[in-house]
């Protein structure tokens, strides 16, 4: 069980090598297979997450949620997707058609690219990048531009308001997100995600960096545009913000990408703070990738739970909260971590 995926990849590699292919071609094919596997994994998870969100919200609201399509309504998302595919894509007048259609295609790119460097289990990482954290932060901020493009080309005032909010919100919340990760990086001294996981062998960073975890959680909610920071979509204020004019599959892409982002930030939270695929209490008989999934889903559930409990914050309060509360706290956290680390290293308990 533990090494099922690693072994599978190794098996393919051996098979190809024994067939006499050159090394580069083997690498290329194996990587492609891995990336397709990741793609499938992410898409399956996204479909499941849509269903899960609907179920969680329903359960919290004393409802049952989807239960008609398939057993327990499991195929509801698929049915919805089929419906969305069959719908007409309406393009507003006087817009830049190419950009308008490009935005929903591009929106999946940043989270997908980040998944290339995230470890899914012990030894299960497509590219073990040395600067994994840096790569994540750099790519995650890309989606701002894409959502902004969608809003701008929609030629709709609600979309414009929404996309301005995207820029304000996501750019601002990048800062505390980054600063909260700095605490972790300071402790480990590495930007490699696998390295960060292995250095949590003795204790998870959520216990060493509780403040950083909290800041990361809040900033992550803001980054994924979910309640209480769903100002971008702010359904009761600006309809669905940048996505107002999108219909059919265009809308579906944005909708699904949101869940890909949720998956991503939850995964990063488990990797950075919850020990990644490390098994707690020595329960190593459960495979590492299952442990990671469990932690990821715990994080996702917390995000959903928050979403269906809290109202939405206002734009000026959101900005004030970011710059006046989160950023100073994150900086304090870095200082404390630095001093703590220095003391720890000099005293050597």
């Amino acid at each position: 069980m533990e090494n099922i995926f690693v072994n599978a990849a190794g098996g393919i590699r051996n098979l190809l090598e024994s067939a006499g292919l050159p090394g580069l071609a083997v690498d290329l094919i194996v990587l492609t297979v891995i990336f397709v596997a990741i793609l499938v994994f992410v898409l399956l998870n996204v479909l499941w997450l849509v269903y899960m969100e609907r179920k969680v919200s329903a359960f919290i609201q004393c409802r049952i949620g989807p239960n008609r399509v398939g057993p327990m309504g499991l195929f509801q998302t698929i049915a919805d997707t089929v419906k969305l595919i069959s719908k007409e894509i309406i393009i507003p007048k006087n817009t830049n058609k190419k950009l308008f259609l490009l935005a929903p295609v591009m929106i999946f790119m940043p989270p997908m690219a980040v998944f290339a460097v995230t470890p899914f289990g012990k030894g299960m990482v497509a590219l073990d990048l040395n600067i994994g954290v840096y790569y994540f932060v750099a790519l995650a901020s890309l989606s701002t531009v894409i959502i902004w493009t969608a809003g701008w080309t929609s030629n709709n005032k609600y979309s414009l308001l929404g996309s301005m909010r995207v820029v304000a919100q996501m750019v601002s919340y990048e800062v505390p997100l980054l600063l909260s990760i700095v605490g972790v990086v300071l402790l480990t001294g590495t930007l490699n995600l696998t390295g960060i996981i292995t250095s949590q062998q003795s204790v998870w960073f959520i216990f060493l960096q509780p403040l950083a975890f909290l800041i990361y959680l809040i900033a992550a909610v803001a980054e994924t545009n979910r309640t209480p920071f769903d100002l971008v979509e702010g359904e009761s204020e600006i309809i669905t913000g940048p996505f107002t004019e999108y219909s059919g599959m265009g809308f579906a892409f944005f909708f699904l990408a949101e869940y890909a982002n949720v998956l991503l930030v939850s995964m990063l939270a488990s990797i950075l703070f919850l020990g990644g695929w490390l098994a707690p209490f020595g329960l190593t008989f459960i495979p590492s990738w299952i442990w990671l999934l469990l932690k990821v889903y715990l994080m996702i559930f917390i995000l959903m739970w928050l979403r269906w409990t809290y109202p939405r914050i206002r734009i000026d309060q959101m900005m004030a909260f970011c710059w006046k509360v989160l950023v100073p706290l994150a900086i304090v956290n870095i200082f404390v971590t630095g001093i703590g680390k220095y003391l720890y290293e000099s005293v050597r308990w």
Binding site: S57, I60, Q61, C62, R63, K157, Y158, L160, L161, M164, T227, P228, D230, L231, G234, E235, S236, E237, I238, I239, W308, T309, Y310, P311, R312, I313, R314, I315, D316, Q317
Partner: protein, 364 residues
């Protein structure tokens, strides 16, 4: 840097204008510079329609004014008619009216509370409120046969006596209500994000509120003790003990929270009315064909949104010469344009939600 003001049309199709209401906002970024409300998208000309109906036939149309508090709208009309014709309503009918009227008030406030939670983004609060409103809707369906448009009252009484099982159900609901209110307070009122969103937003001073003829929870949130049930008791409200909750700041939070407090008071009234409910006839002796004497009357009742006034002019025939409804939401909205100036878009929605308008009533 060159900046430009933007004209934004909020509505008539918008998720949180509570119907087909339109506000034309002039925005500077996210801040409202100027606002013009444009009602009338649900105007059905009820005042004109009823001119060609007989007096009892007006009643179903009053349901469609404030369709979240149909019984209270019925009450406003029959109250005016009873004053015009000088009808004495039997005791039992008055008690039944108070019970169902207060239930309807709770239902209407539940919608206001829930919709307000939804307006500021917390959809769960919305569903919780609607879940509990369902019980009231069931009870109203039990007595009147319809959930939203009950047409329950008649000139001189009510349409039917309370059915079997109603009293138990009502008692059960009243006993349950405090737990539900505690839940709303925990989920919505006590939430810090919610308080940040609503406290100190768009305060209305007491003088301004009186000057702008605001009524209902909006007026009382500004600290003006003016509830017709106390100030000028109609029906049998002088027999019940209840308080008029008052706000102090007149901001969105006070307007919201006042409704929750009023629910408790309504429950108190229902409890007393259930205990005292007398036996007897439920309809006064009213001629089969209603022909009120020529004259005119203006009578007011306190609906869930504010003062519901009905002005009836009779020329002695079977059809009213003129009926005018003073709809509380309509008059309250007169202050809206002025109030939202200088606030953010998100606040506009919060303020509109705190006004608790029903478009059937605004547009008549």
């Amino acid at each position: 840097m060159k900046t430009q003001e933007m004209l934004l049309n909020v509505g008539p199709q918008h998720p949180s204008t509570h119907g087909v209401f339109r506000v034309v906002l002039t925005l500077d970024g996210e801040t409202v510079v100027n606002a013009t409300s444009v009602p009338g998208y649900l105007h059905r000309g009820i005042e004109k329609l009823v001119e060609s109906r007989t007096y009892p036939q007006v009643l179903p149309y009053t349901d469609r004014l404030d369709y979240l508090a149909g019984i209270l709208m019925n009450w406003g009309y029959v109250h005016a008619m009873e004053q015009l014709m000088e009808i004495e309503v039997p005791e039992r009918a008055e008690y039944i009216r108070v019970i169902v009227g207060e239930l309807q008030r709770i239902a209407s406030h539940l919608v206001a509370t829930g919709a307000y939670a939804g307006d500021v983004g917390g959809l769960t609060g919305f569903i919780y409120c609607f879940r509990d409103r369902e019980d009231i809707m069931d009870m109203i369906e039990m007595v009147s046969g319809a959930r939203l448009t009950p047409s329950y009252m008649r000139i001189g009484g009510v349409a039917g006596d309370l059915p079997d099982g109603f009293l138990e159900k009502c008692q059960k609901f009243i006993d349950y209500l405090p737990t539900a209110i505690e839940e709303y307070n925990g989920l919505i009122t006590g939430n810090e994000i919610f308080q940040h969103r609503t406290k100190k937003v768009a305060p209305i001073t007491a003088e301004k509120a009186i000057n702008m003829s605001l009524s209902g929870p909006i007026l009382r949130a500004s600290g003006v003790n003016y509830d017709l049930r106390k100030a000028r008791p109609y029906s049998i409200y002088d027999r019940f003990e209840f308080d008029v909750p008052l706000g102090s700041n007149g901001d969105c939070f006070d307007r919201f929270y006042l409704r929750i407090l009023e629910m408790t008071q309504s429950a108190r009234i229902i409890r007393q009315a259930l205990a005292k409910l007398p036996e007897g006839p439920i309809n006064a002796k009213v001629p089969k064909i209603i022909k009120p004497p020529a004259g005119e009357v203006y009578a007011e009742t306190e609906s869930s949104k504010g003062i519901m006034g009905v002005y009836v002019v009779s020329d002695g025939s079977t059809k009213p010469y003129r009926v005018h409804f003073r709809r509380p939401s309509f008059v309250n909205m007169g202050h809206f344009d002025e109030l939202i100036r200088g606030w953010k878009i998100a606040d506009v929605i919060a303020i509109l939600g705190s006004f608790d308008i029903v478009l059937g009533e605004v547009d008549c």
